[in-house]
Symmetry: none
Subunit: 236 residues, 2 copies
DNA sequence: GCCCCGTACGTCAATCATGCTCATGGCCCG
DNA sequence: CGGGCCATGAGCATGATTGACGTACGGGGC
């Protein structure tokens, strides 16, 4: 799944190496191709070398500010698909956010640090979808459909009401349909990274999901004893 | 959705880089192609290079005043569609407004800073519509219809009286029908960008709207717990 | 033209209602 | 027997609603 040649190409720009690496690793795992840069100058040359489909940009950089970077990127129309590169801003939660808030309404979006990685990936996909990428807002497995933009789940076309956590869990399972995911992976991706509780919460939520969305035959959410869970359509 | 080659082309002229970026990002997201300029001289050369369909012009520029810019733009008949370029003036709320009002130059319009972005986009579309664009002034979702030009809302054909803020909120929800929008997004787009208050005001206005326009079945304004709100027609 | 008043609107805070999250623990299956 | 399943309920976060207050605006009287 990682780094296919046709995968979307992201450019991560942040001066903190830790953040940069965390992001790069996560995004690569999520199936993107990722470059990174620690300064504005690096960012611009990287974008010139290989035009990204999306730039993740820390607003506060050591050399010049993020807005200036955006301007320069756009001057060179470095968008991987022809148009201006969309930019997702990374910003601290303080008042800097306000400025960016205004700035970021739309193709440009923003997230405040510390951010939730699932959330981040969702935003990235939303932007790519809007700017002509190949993502559709809908994932389908068997009779189940999940609309990420509308936050709606349907089974055989009928809407099913699910809570936010249930939604995130189901989305994760559907994104990884056919692949077994461990409880640890689920905890990492679906719950906040600072979640302190017990992993058995995953059992509980799997149970909730089964009751709500997996009541018909065939069963889609399957347990792999001692390993984890997998959502798949049994072979026909 | 962004920046198709056939999208309307706007030119943003403002000497404050922040405002310029704010506008550019927002308008790009709204589907326009956008150029920008920080001075009158830049504006004129940009308009010559690629004739815009509409100019957004700050009245107070460092080099020469906005009206002079308009005169020069029109001398060169730089309108993207043949006629004189329509201009949307950006002005402070104080005395400047009167001057612009007095101008009353046909297709032109003005907004006072601080403006809310939804309002701005609506005005832009209104002008483009008048000058030959393709936008219609009406949005419909289910039994609800909203006339962006006449500032009128009807439910099953019967008019509903809504306040200005209620109108902007409903318009935003209708423009994003089927997509969940967070309270933060609503605050960003529906309230002035310098609104400092609490996000709970959104709840309040949702409540107002429901009482006024969402009293029949099926309910169109739905709450997505922990995420935001969405206006949609339930599946049939 | 000026002032006064009433209405409408926007904002905030308090209260109430909802429903979500998560720990616990008993039972069952592999 | 360990791992998984799921019912239960406490505590908490979120949302809905309403009332109160301040202000802007418009109309009418002087």
């Amino acid at each position: 799944m990682t780094s296919r040649a046709d995968a979307e190409h992201l450019l991560v720009v942040d001066d903190e190496a830790t953040v940069r690496e965390l992001l790069s690793a996560t995004l690569r795992f999520a199936g993107f191709r990722v470059s990174s840069a620690g300064t504005a100058a690096e960012a611009i040359s990287a974008a010139t070398a290989e035009p990204p489909d999306l730039v993740l940009l820390d607003v506060m950089l050591p050399d010049i500010d993020g807005f200036e970077v955006v301007r320069r990127l756009r001057e060179q129309r470095t968008g991987g698909r022809g148009g201006p590169v969309p930019v997702l801003f990374l910003t601290a939660r303080d008042r800097q956010a306000d400025k960016v808030t205004g700035l970021s309404l739309g193709a440009d979006d923003y997230v405040t640090k510390p951010f939730d990685l699932e959330e981040l990936i969702a935003r990235i996909r939303a932007i790519l979808r809007r700017t002509g990428g190949s993502y559709t807002g809908e994932i389908t497995v068997g009779a189940l459909a999940l609309d990420t933009e509308g936050h709606q789940v349907t089974r055989d076309g009928r809407p099913v009401k699910v809570s936010p956590t249930e939604f995130r869990l189901l989305r994760y399972l559907m994104e990884n349909a056919g692949r077994v995911v461990t409880k640890a992976q689920i905890l990492d991706r679906v719950w906040n990274y600072d979640f302190g509780g017990d992993a058995s919460i995953v059992d509980t939520y799997i149970s909730y999901l089964r009751r709500k969305v997996d009541i018909g035959e065939p069963r889609l959410i399957q347990t792999v004893h001692g390993v984890g869970y997998v959502l798949r359509e049994p072979r026909q």
